[in-house]
Amino acid sequence: MSKNNEFVKFDKVDKSYDGKLLVVKDLNLDIAEGEFITMLGPSGSGKTTCLMMLAGFETPTNGEIYLDGNPISNIPPHKRGIGMVFQNYALFPHMTVYENLAFPLKVRKMLKDEIDKKVDKALSMVSLTGFENRMPGQLSGGQQQRVAVARALVFDPAVVLMDEPLGALDKNLRESMQYEIKHIHESIGVTVVYVTHDQSEALTMSNRIAVFNDGKVQQLSSPDKLYEEPVNSFVAEFIGENNRFDGEVLDISNGVCKVKIGAGEILANPISVKSKGEKTTVSIRPERALINPKDKMDNSHKGKIEEVIYHGDHTRVRINLLNNSEFILKVPNSSQNLDIKLGNEIDIGWNSVDARALDPK
């Protein structure tokens, strides 16, 4: 069976609530069957609106959404067969766990035996067997979350939408639930559209991530690509940590550009600059810049240590480098003995490939 790469398709979708402001602008997004795709972005970036349009609770102002090739704008939510996990779980408080899970099956007029079987299976999937007769109010946050996931999956929907489902959980529980949801996805192969504003959640769980800002998808790619190769300064800034230099392109040749920043010049990888004189923001990941590099690197500068913060597995060092006092380095706490002390001058080096010259901020 070949996978349908356009299982869900947003085609030139616009959305406006008041006729003045576009919340979603010209959205084109293809989601493959069985994919785990995350919509990531700051609040107000339009990601939840996209999800609501897909679920059928909002209608696109312009454009069309296709599910398995069929336009769905005119299909009411209850006929779309899309499962959804809500931010606050939205479990029915007057029904037991069993009744909550049986609800989507009962409205589909399934037989009692079949319902029992499916509910059992769904509960064992989220390891909540034996909780059938509890009320949602008697469950912990994590358990409610699992019930919500089980309920969204119990009727075998083709697509499951999750709207910041882990937002209300504490950090440890959130992390274990991330893995659990990922494993469930892998084992049943359902298409998941996941919305979150937590980048680490997105990086951990997804096949692909769509970074939203200002109603537009800034970048759509796999987690590693997103982190290593951000295509613009918003994505570089939003995903992971990032050292920034604002400057102007002096020269561009052979896939390397020279950028003039306040106190000096650095070599960078021209991603979105084409010609001399353009303004640019150069982005360097903290772990790509090394202290006292052994190998020769084409960028090498001296910096003064301004702050040292101990983080357990690594130490963060804030350095004043080329007049940028916000330059952060991550030094792993290995046996390697580096002379990291406040006020010391040290050598910092990085390869120009890792310094990405992006659009100016």
Partner: protein, 417 residues
């Protein structure tokens, strides 16, 4: 081991329970003093009057105290044949005092309630007894009027001997204790109260139903509209609340009367002929219309406060799981509003069952309720004990409804906000 678990001591060696009691005592006294004024107020204005009402409703001492010797003599009388001479003598002695004190009229009224025809023979006896000779009072009294020789009348007197009576309660449901001591219904033409009770229940029920049908969508709208509009709507709901009850009822009179605005409108749009204007006031229609409008906020507010707490995502969840909008409403939203429905219905029903002013003004003869009858006995017939009895019956009825409700729905399922 076991002794350690039995009593836990504080670090100072005092048992923990004792120490806790001591520490909490001050707070308890403070708390009690705070509620004491309210408690006293309730006692004076609520518990005490209800107790007094109850005593008044069963009090029947008047006749007992007027004829002390008679009732003492009657103790031995079995009530089958005419009583012995000593009863007649005791009655004569009691009655002479009453005549002297000029209070025999009251006795006549009371005994006449018991049996018709007492008034005239007592008056006659009052005149004639002045010339009575000593001894053989039975003969002399029986000679005054032939009814005095009728054993029925003496039985009637004996029936009034107890200091307490439940006859007012029987009267409240159109029953009485007949001469044989059996509880029977009054004649068909005089059964007014039963009809009133039923009508009260009927009107209260339908007013509650109408209120519910109208309030549910309003409350839903209030809970889901954006703040800007819901505030305005809320004011519209509460506006009548801030207007005097009398003013509201009077405005309904202006609207509903035969030459009123509603009738004018009906004639204008050609719904009814000018000479055939329907009567919408001084009957049940008037009571229904006015009471529903007046009691509507009592239904809207509890419903609203409950609906406000229902997350809109629940309905969405219902729909996304495949329920049609109706199924999502009926299976998800509606069950969650039941506490509000319970609170609103109980509130409106209890208020409606004891409603007074509105039915008095717009109800006419066919639209009045039991409370109007109570007021009638308080003000017009001055039969306060009967009014008290009916008031208490109403109270017990309300408590019974509350009890049934508690059994069916559970009182902790009520939510007022």
């Amino acid at each position: 081991m076991s002794s350690e678990t039995q009593k836990i001591l504080t670090t100072d060696g005092i048992p923990l329970e004792e120490s806790l009691k001591k520490a909490e005592k001050k707070n308890k006294i403070k708390a009690f003093l705070l509620v004491a004024p309210l408690l006293l107020y309730l006692l004076i204005t609520y518990i005490f009057p209800i107790g007094d009402m109850f005593l008044r409703s069963i009090d029947d001492k008047m006749v007992t105290t007027m004829l002390p010797k008679t009732f003492k003599a009657m103790e031995k009388w079995d009530g089958k044949e005419l009583p012995e001479e000593e009863v007649f003598e005791a009655f004569y002695l009691d009655y002479r005092i009453l005549v002297k004190e000029k209070s025999f009229g009251k006795l006549a009224t009371q005994l006449n309630y018991e049996k018709n025809g007492f008034k005239s023979i007592l008056k006659k006896l009052a005149r004639k007894q002045k010339k009575f000779e000593e001894g053989n009072y039975k003969e002399q009294i029986m000679k005054v009027h032939k009814r005095w020789a009728n054993v029925e009348y003496w039985r009637a007197i004996k029936r009034r001997a107890p200091e307490y009576t439940y006859s007012k309660y029987l009267k409240g449901v159109d029953m009485y204790e007949n001469e044989e001591g059996k509880i029977v219904q009054v004649e068909e033409s005089r059964r007014v109260h039963k009809k009133l009770w039923l009508r009260t229940l009927e009107i209260a029920f339908f007013v509650t139903l109408l209120c519910f049908l109208m309030a549910y969508p309003i409350a839903h709208l209030l809970a889901t509209l954006p703040m800007k509009y819901s505030n305005l709507l809320m004011i519209c709901v509460l506006l009548p609340f801030w207007t005097s009850l009398l003013v509201r009822t009077a405005s309904w009179m202006i609207l509903l009367q035969q030459q009123g605005i509603v009738n004018d409108f009906f004639v204008w749009i050609g719904l009814v002929a000018d000479d055939n204007r329907p009567e919408m006031m001084y009957n049940k229609t008037g009571t229904y219309v006015a009471m529903t409008q007046i009691l509507l906020p009592f239904m809207v507010l509890p419903l609203y406060s409950v609906m406000k707490t229902i997350s809109p995502s629940l309905m969405r969840a219902g729909k996304s799981l495949g329920g049609t909008p109706f199924v999502a409403f009926w299976k998800v939203y509606f069950p969650l509003t039941i506490p509000g429905i319970g609170a609103g219905c109980l509130l409106v029903f209890i208020l409606a069952i004891g409603y007074y002013i509105t039915p008095a003004l717009v109800g006419g003869a066919s639209g009045t309720l039991i409370s109007n009858q109570i007021a009638f006995h308080m003000k017009s017939t001055l039969d306060w004990s009967f009014a008290s009895a009916m008031g208490l019956m109403l109270l017990v009825g309300v408590l019974a409804i509350y009890w049934v409700y508690n059994k069916l729905v559970g009182i902790d399922n009520i939510k007022l906000g």
